[in-house]
Symmetry: C2
Subunit: 307 residues, 2 copies
């Protein structure tokens, strides 16, 4: 199970009643925060999600509306008595920016560990998640993130019985251990009793970018694609191109063009000038029917498929 909370949906500047775009993910007691603009700590508090368990922070890019809330968030985590290290992931240069911003949060009771991205795509396995970072197309270096909760294959009880494996070893085999049975001298590997890895849960988050192939590839097979839809009104295509942003229609076309269509698309990172993105939803759903206008604090519990 993966809990998702879209903390904010605004782009450029925080507005009364619209926080800056930020996503929080929660699975197995380990939380991920993606982007942290001014006010994100308040948005999290409003949503009822504690900053205490944020083990990983990902940053799409170094523009203020995606990182200006970092000092406050770090202090809120300290105030929540966090002591465990936090992994910070973002484009090359992240360490220096964080060091600068920490001039007003110099003392923290936890360590920050940095992963700076410089490849087209990079994969990490952290805290039980599989995180794929993919470069997108903004006016400065910017990454999108695909976060997957993997799911093991099914344990084959019949096969375990057929091989006469003692029940006391089943749990260890399910958890990937290789077993040497002392009584019989035989060795059992997980592959002997575990089916192929099953479909996990995948959430993809990308903003501040033109449409690009990396997004289409990442979005394929996602349970949820959260994507910038900066403008919805007609005639904004040129502005979107000039500032390296994306319209709702372009985001919908990306989702529709993915090899395996994402199951749902949420728009976010609305322009302050676009007060009612829902006005354009009917039109956008002609391109991708499972599109939804993200709202601040919108939550969803994503489950593994039934077998």
């Amino acid at each position: 199970m993966l809990d998702v909370c879209l903390l904010g949906t605004g782009g450029m500047m925080p507005m009364p009643n619209r926080w800056l775009t930020s996503l929080m993910l929660r699975c197995g007691g380990s939380d991920i925060l993606i982007d942290c603009g001014e006010g994100t700590q308040i948005a999290a508090r409003e949503a009822g999600w504690s900053p205490r368990h944020i083990d990983i922070m990902c940053f799409t890019h170094m523009h203020a509306d995606h990182i200006s809330g970092l000092p406050g968030m770090l202090l809120a985590m300290a105030n929540a008595e966090r002591t465990e290290p936090v992994i910070m992931i973002g484009p090359k240069g992240l360490f220096n920016v964080v060091r600068s911003l920490r001039c007003i949060a110099p003392e923290l009771p936890f360590e920050l560990r940095f992963i700076e991205l410089d490849q087209n795509t990079e994969q990490y396995r952290l805290c039980g998640y599989e995180i794929s970072c993919f470069k997108v197309s903004h006016n400065i270096t910017c990454y999108g993130y695909s976060v997957t909760v993997p799911r093991k294959g099914k344990f084959n009880v019949d096969e375990a019985r057929r091989l006469d494996i003692d029940v006391k070893y089943w749990n260890a085999l399910q958890h990937g251990e290789t077993i040497k049975d002392e009584a019989t001298g035989r060795t059992y590997t997980p592959s002997m009793v575990m089916g192929a890895e099953r479909r996990g849960i995948k959430v993809v988050y990308t903003t501040d970018t033109r449409p690009c192939d990396n997004i289409k590839r990442a979005a394929s097979g996602a349970d949820l694609l959260i994507c910038e839809g900066m403008y919805g009104e007609p005639g904004m295509e040129e502005k979107a191109k000039a500032y390296r942003h994306m319209t709702m229609q372009e985001a919908a076309a990306l989702a529709a063009g993915a090899e395996e269509r994402p199951r749902e698309l949420w728009f976010t990172h609305y322009s302050p000038s676009m007060l009612k993105p829902k006005l354009y939803l009917d039109e956008v759903r002609k391109i991708f029917p499972d599109a939804i206008c993200g709202r601040d604090g919108m939550k969803k519990e994503l489950m593994f498929d039934e077998d």
Copy 2:
């Protein structure tokens, strides 16, 4: 006339429904902002006060809850098409902190000019205001600010007539100019026709401090004293002392002890643990009757006294 808006009233961390403590002052088209924690730009927008005309920014001290909103505020000012310089006033070290924080707001269409404070008290005349900065008593260097809109003396029409000064020179004399009358060869100075400077309008703002004599002196004769009241509930005196903060009762005693009592006292910088400061107001008014619990967005129009 001086317009006052208490943008926020929170201490330590921004809360849903309580912005961090910050004050905005407006007179003659020139605005002052004192303190700028995370979310202050949103609070100003909620209050309907544009960031465009902030000519002066004062910072009490360099703790995050008083300056973390600066990059966002500077970008909001840029977005509002400000091009005029901004004067930044704060304790020694301000320049370095601002330079660090500006790693995410490197390009601004206006210049920042710095006044770094290191004396016990310092006075400046800027943009029509008289600003007095006074050191207070926190766990790092911290200043309070007294802002006065001065008021000229009255123009003595009878005396101007008696001296036979041509009416065409009256306005210049009222504006402080010395006049050489070409027709008569006589010289007129403002002091010949202007009465003594009258009582202006004075607002004093101080937070994150123990009670101290500098505050009492500054508060004397103020129209409005805005003062930290971090705690109100009984038994918090020791905590206030330990963290170098002030209770509502201590703030009221400061106001009551000023040589010339301030006309009104607003509390601010409430602890996140104090949800209802009004619970303690009756008790506090026994010490200083004209005490009011500040609320986010509270405004007041302060006028010159009637003659």
